[in-house]
């Protein structure tokens, strides 16, 4: 009973942080059995596609040497990973339920993002998730499939700062313009461990920077919202109905 109550308070605190605080938070994956299975499924699928790699670090090493075209091809082959969204949601059921309830609209196909080291790669222009037409009631759950030992992770900008920039951009009719672009300089992505995730709302600016490493960075992310909240532009092309067990 006491444990249940403290868990509830912890989640309420997180909920408030995501709505009216910084808008993002680092969160430990609840069900590591599912999350490890997710990582192993990824390794199986990508090994078939690229022809090498027995574990996540071998895959990372092989992918770090690949061209952009080869990485893109491998990522297209990952479209067969059709249960990635379900696995990500099921690895954090209490968090998802606290934020959005049991009945959900979730991304039909979660993304796997492979970032290759080097100056010519892995620049993800700072952006808001809102720009894609997802509902303002959506959250993004982002998790690396390995420890982040370098700057290959993602950075997130406090909601208040994100909002100020958003208002300025709105006034000029721009979204993700030069102000946002210049924010890429001097960002330091946090070094998450395997089993940690970042959860953030769609108004939080985020991105990543070029990094040096022998290894590629591999992470996955999924978007979800309550079934009881309205949609925006995304519909069945992007979302599916999902009920937590």
């Amino acid at each position: 009973m006491v444990k249940g109550l403290s868990l509830k308070l912890k989640y309420m605190d997180l909920y408030n942080k995501l709505i009216s605080g910084p808008g993002y938070s680092v969160y430990p994956i609840e069900n590591m059995k599912i999350f490890k299975k997710l990582r192993d499924s990824f390794v199986d699928k990508i090994t078939t596609s690229i022809g090498s790699g027995k574990n996540i670090n071998e895959v990372r090493k092989a992918m770090a040497r690949m061209s952009k075209a080869e990485v893109n091809k491998a990522m297209i082959n990952l479209l067969t990973f059709t249960n990635l969204s379900d696995m990500m949601i099921d690895s954090c059921p209490d968090l998802v339920e606290t934020l959005c309830g049991k009945e959900l609209f979730i991304q039909r196909r979660a993304h796997t993002i492979i970032n290759v080291p080097g100056k010519d790669h892995s620049k993800q222009w700072t952006h808001y998730e809102m720009m894609s037409g997802i509902s303002p009631f959506t959250y993004v759950l982002w998790a690396p499939l390995h420890d982040l030992d370098d700057d290959g992770g993602a950075y997130h900008i406090d909601q208040k700062i994100s909002l100020e920039i958003m208002k300025k951009e709105e006034a000029t009719g721009l979204v993700n313009g030069p102000t946002v672009f210049n924010m890429m300089e001097n960002q330091k992505p946090p070094r998450l461990k395997f089993g940690e995730a970042v959860i953030f709302n769609p108004f939080v600016l985020h991105g990543n920077v070029p990094f040096n490493s022998e290894f590629a960075r591999i992470a996955c992310n999924v978007r979800f919202q309550s079934f009881n909240k309205p949609l925006l532009q995304k519909n069945t092309d992007y979302l599916k109905y999902y009920r937590l067990q």
Binding site: P136, Q225, K229, T236, D237, Y241
Partner: protein
């Protein structure tokens, strides 16, 4: 044993896709999934009965059908029953959702999902702003 693509009315659930756009979407889907399209069937506008394809299927015995979206499936009981009776052995592909399958259970799941989305509330993005959307999230919460 042939594969068909079907164009329908421009209004497809929440989407508005002209028939040449529908053809582009379905042909791209076919190409990505190594499907060769043999027949193109235009269903009439203002109907989601899929009656033309069912009528032709009696003679031609289609094996695969490609549509743009699950929103093109019928939503009235007698039309659903007709489709299930006539087409349950045909493999259905929905390009925008990227899903495929065959049989009564699969088709009913697709019809049900389309209904869930049809009943969901939607914010009209042409009548709002980024700031208003932010306020909405702050005021209403996310649960």
């Amino acid at each position: 044993m042939s594969t068909v693509t079907i164009t329908t009315d421009i209004n497809i659930g929440p989407f508005k896709i002209p028939s040449n756009g529908q053809n582009m979407i379905m042909n791209n889907y076919a190409q990505r999934n190594n499907l060769i399209v043999d027949v193109i069937i235009p269903e009439p506008m203002m109907s989601n009965a899929l009656a033309t394809v069912q009528w032709l299927h009696k003679d031609k015995k289609f094996s695969k059908v490609i549509l743009c979206s699950i929103h093109q499936l019928p939503n009235i009981k007698n039309r659903i029953d007709e489709l299930l009776k006539n087409m349950q052995n045909v493999e259905f592909h929905f390009a925008l959702e990227g899903i495929s399958g065959k049989g009564k259970t699969f088709l009913l799941e697709c019809i049900n999902e389309a209904k869930i989305f049809k009943n969901a509330k939607t914010i009209d993005s042409s009548k709002t702003t980024w700031s208003e959307l932010y306020k909405l999230m702050q005021q209403k919460g996310t649960r």
